[in-house]
């Protein structure tokens, strides 16, 4: 044992269901003077010990569930003040709908109650703090003076069981288990500030999915749909709650900041990618990047169409377009996604639920940061769900359906369009070839790049239009990233862009390999810009 022990792993202080933050804090405390970079591999070494411990504590069924959450949401860390002193943190604390520690019933804090600084993932060896930093041996002795009581362990175990079932069961069963949990033990003091009989604004109604969730259970939509009921609305004693600005409310304003939303975008993107991967597996032959990279010729092989990939492709395109190229459009035309018939407006920054407020007869409520984040995340997921449903429903051979029903949302407007030579060329071409193009009225030219190059394959023309619009979207995205925003510099955009790329999942099957094509388009200004019109810029 001595020969192999090169670092202190702190097995003596190991407890079940610890998060990576907790392990990091302990290991850095127990190996003083060792560079943090050197201790990183210790976290991995600890995982086996943790895994055995969790299996013993949670049972074999639950342990993998915990592992999935081990590295969960390390930004904006939340911590129970008593647990912080006792050097304990578990991923369950990061669930936003959970307002109190299941062990001590204390409210969660985002700042250390000892040093008043925000909790940080990267603990510095100089950061000596009982609540958030490295601790002395006496603190260890105090924290571990007695083993975690059976009662506390039982509460924690119950919490994990609830979560476990919530993510795998239907809405009804989760609600039942939730009620059971609250009524019998009462240890979770989930604030139910919002009751279902109150009327939420219509935007809330949109978020309640009536679609078949059978394929999307893994996206945790059902969990969210229940959880939102317990998300807190903050009561304010102002006549005009919209003008109210609390410290927490300032986060709502920060939502408009790219950096604040990036983690949520990435989390949802990764979730959907995981889902696509699990759905398609290795046998799937369609590549994710096909829909925006291929030319008219390659789209000839229509049987390769995959609804899941196509849905993600459209979704990601739309998200990226609306988020990062927003200013390009909004300055002149406003957002193209603000359609009252479609819940797409969830992902439009102008419609952030920051403005959401509830006013009853004598009380005013405004949404809290937790609620805003939840609603934003849910909007992204619902958006994908609807796109997916659409992609699954249409007949790939009937391409016109795609055009007429889908394209209005993706269409790029061109208000300064004039009837040019290109249009005349296009009209002549369609007349000669008797092709019924389903282009948008405002800008037929956006459908094609050069009519001389087009063959008489009419279906392929429509498909080419799809591909073209996707090209266009990504091209815009790239342009958008380089356009200096009013609020963010181009460096900020670039940094955000790098952040996206670094956090996208490692390639594990062909989908993810092909995802590089996205990255390539995002990163390199290739000659794609030459293949279609540039007039929109």
């Amino acid at each position: 044992m001595i020969v192999n022990a090169t670092y202190n792993y702190g097995n003596r202080f190991c407890r079940p269901c610890e998060s990576q933050f907790c392990v990091a804090r302990r290991i850095i405390s127990m190996n003083p003077g060792i560079a943090i970079a050197k201790t990183k591999h210790l976290y991995r070494a600890m995982s086996e010990t943790q895994s055995n411990l969790n299996t013993a504590f949670l049972g074999e069924d639950f342990a993998p569930f915990f592992e999935k959450h081990y590295n969960r949401v390390m930004h904006n860390l939340r911590q129970c003040p008593i647990c912080a002193i006792k050097l304990f943190h578990t991923p369950i604390f990061q669930y936003e709908w959970l307002t109190h520690c299941p062990i001590h019933q204390e409210s969660f804090m985002t700042r250390c109650h000892v040093c008043r600084k925000p909790f940080r993932k990267n603990i510095d060896i100089r950061n000596k703090c009982k609540g958030c930093g490295i601790v002395e041996l006496s603190d260890f002795a105090e924290a571990y003076d007695e083993p975690q009581s059976k009662d506390a362990s039982k509460r924690l175990l119950n919490a994990y069981k609830i979560l476990f079932h919530a993510e795998r069961s239907t809405k009804e069963s989760f609600e039942n288990s939730y009620v059971y949990f609250v009524d019998t033990t009462g240890v979770f003091q989930w604030k139910k500030c919002y009751e279902s009989d109150l009327t939420y604004p219509s935007i809330m109604q949109h978020s309640l999915s009536d679609l078949d969730p059978s394929d999307l259970l893994d996206l945790r939509l059902e969990t969210y749909s229940v959880a939102h009921k317990v998300v807190e609305l903050q009561e304010v004693a102002l006549e005009n709650p919209k003008n109210y600005r609390s410290e927490e409310q300032s986060y709502c304003e920060a939502l408009e900041n790219l950096e604040a939303l990036l983690p949520i975008d990435l989390e949802v993107t990764n979730t959907i990618l995981d889902w696509v991967q699990s759905r398609t597996l290795q046998s799937h032959v369609t590549v994710l990047g096909q829909y925006h990279r291929t030319s008219i010729d390659t789209f000839d092989g229509w049987p390769h169409f995959c609804p899941s990939c196509f849905a993600f492709s459209l979704w990601f395109y739309s998200l990226a377009e609306s988020k990062y190229a927003l200013d390009v459009w909004s300055q002149k035309y406003g957002s193209i996604f603000t359609n009252s018939d479609c819940p797409w407006h969830f992902i439009v920054p102008n419609m952030y639920p920051a403005t959401l407020a509830k006013s009853t007869a004598d009380r005013h409520f405004i949404s809290t940061a937790l609620f805003d984040r939840w609603l934003y995340r849910r909007g992204l997921l619902i958006g994908f769900q609807q796109i997916l449903e659409y992609c699954q429903s249409f007949d790939p051979t009937n391409l016109r359906l795609i055009k007429t029903t889908w394209f209005p949302f993706l269409k790029i407007q061109e208000p300064t369009w004039n009837k040019s030579d290109r249009l005349r060329k296009f009209e002549a071409f369609s007349r000669d070839n008797v092709i019924d193009f389903y282009y948008c009225d405002e800008d037929p030219l956006s459908c094609v790049k050069d009519f001389d190059d087009l063959s008489d394959r009419s279906q392929s023309c429509s498909m080419f239009q799809i591909a073209l619009d996707q090209h266009n979207g990504f091209y815009r995205l790239e342009k958008g990233l380089k356009v200096v925003n009013h609020s963010l510099s181009s460096t900020d955009f670039l940094r955000a862009h790098t952040y996206i790329r670094s956090l996208l999942p490692a390639p594990s099957n062909h989908h993810f390999r092909e995802l590089k094509k996205y990255r390539k388009i995002l990163n390199e200004k290739t000659d794609y810009g030459e293949i279609y019109f540039k007039s929109s810029y």
């Binding site: 001595i2 003596r12 003083p32």
Partner: protein
């Protein structure tokens, strides 16, 4: 003799053969007595090259509690450095347990690291007590003894009992113990220097016989010939045992050592003498030619006298 494993015989390698001696058994009894009675420390001293370290290495895996559970043991040998500092001892301790540390780490960091290591070590051994064996204690100074008091105190916070056993050479280490008799070192004296055990080498014909019997019983390879038979196949097949020479060997040794005032036979010199006899003299000259001259020559080669009395070459 011509077996292909001949070159790997344990007797060809120094320190590979560990004999159980009466002193080892007595030391084991003493350590168990200290541990079971809750002593916080003790001291084992004896002449140099007498076999203290070997005996402790042998015993470190054999210490048990009253309930029969193993007591984890950490062995640590003090080395001299240019500057004898407290941080230096902590660094040596970290090295002894193969614990990673920075080159310029302060004593605070090193102390913390070693304490956490001991905590984990006790936890993994499922024990609430630890034994720390500090060899070559005569190289310590009195300030450095405070380290072990600190370790004891800090481990006590987590209900882990640390027993520190110092091993040193007589008489150098006794000078250090004398220093601790001063009033200001009462905390050190009370912790570590209340229990003493004097480790002796072989001091009787009976003990020689016990050791030589092990040459007759230990076998190499397993199930093969005994050590004595391996090198003296014909005499052993005729009923010869190495233990039968024990009285003569002890008598010749006594006559050899008496003029030099050597009271006990250190294990290193004993093993060297017996190996010399068994591997070289007896096979070459025959068992029949065993006599005092042969033993004296073997004793000369073992370096027993030259270790005590310097002779001009």
């Amino acid at each position: 003799m011509k077996d292909r494993t001949e070159g790997e015989h344990p007797l060809y390698s120094n320190n590979k053969v560990i004999l159980e001696t009466a002193a080892t058994v007595l030391l084991s009894d003493a350590l168990h007595q200290w541990a079971w009675c809750g002593a916080t420390g003790g001291m084992v001293y004896g002449a140099a090259r007498i076999g203290k370290t070997q005996a402790l290495q042998q015993l470190r895996t054999q210490l048990v509690t009253r309930g029969g559970e193993k007591i984890p043991t950490v062995y640590f040998s003090v080395h001299s450095r240019d500057i004898n500092t407290i941080a230096g001892i902590y660094r040596l301790l970290c090295n002894a347990v193969n614990l990673t540390h920075g080159k310029r780490d302060q004593a605070d960091y090193l102390a913390d690291a070693i304490v956490y290591f001991l905590i984990d070590y006790a936890f993994e051994s499922k024990s609430s007590s630890l034994v720390l064996l500090v060899d070559e204690m005569q190289r310590l100074n009195v300030k450095q003894l405070n380290i072990f008091a600190e370790l004891y105190d800090r481990l006590k916070l987590l209900n882990i009992t640390l027993m520190t056993v110092f091993i040193g050479n007589d008489p150098e280490c006794l000078e250090l113990v004398e220093v601790t008799q001063r009033e200001q070192y009462a905390h050190i004296r009370g912790r570590f220097f209340t229990q003493f055990y004097k480790f002796d080498g072989i001091s009787s014909a009976h003990q020689v016989r016990k050791c030589l019997k092990q040459y007759d019983s230990m076998r190499y390879p397993e199930g093969g010939p005994s050590y004595a038979e391996f090198f003296l196949p014909e005499p052993v097949s005729n009923g010869f045992t190495l233990a039968s020479l024990s009285d003569d060997i002890w008598q010749y040794y006594s006559e050899y050592a008496k003029p030099h005032n050597i009271t006990s036979w250190g294990m290193q010199y004993f093993v060297a003498t017996i190996n010399c006899l068994l591997l070289d003299f007896l096979p070459k000259h025959g068992v029949e030619s065993f006599d005092q001259d042969m033993v004296d020559a073997a004793l000369d080669l073992s370096g027993l006298v030259s270790s005590r009395i310097w002779k001009k070459p």
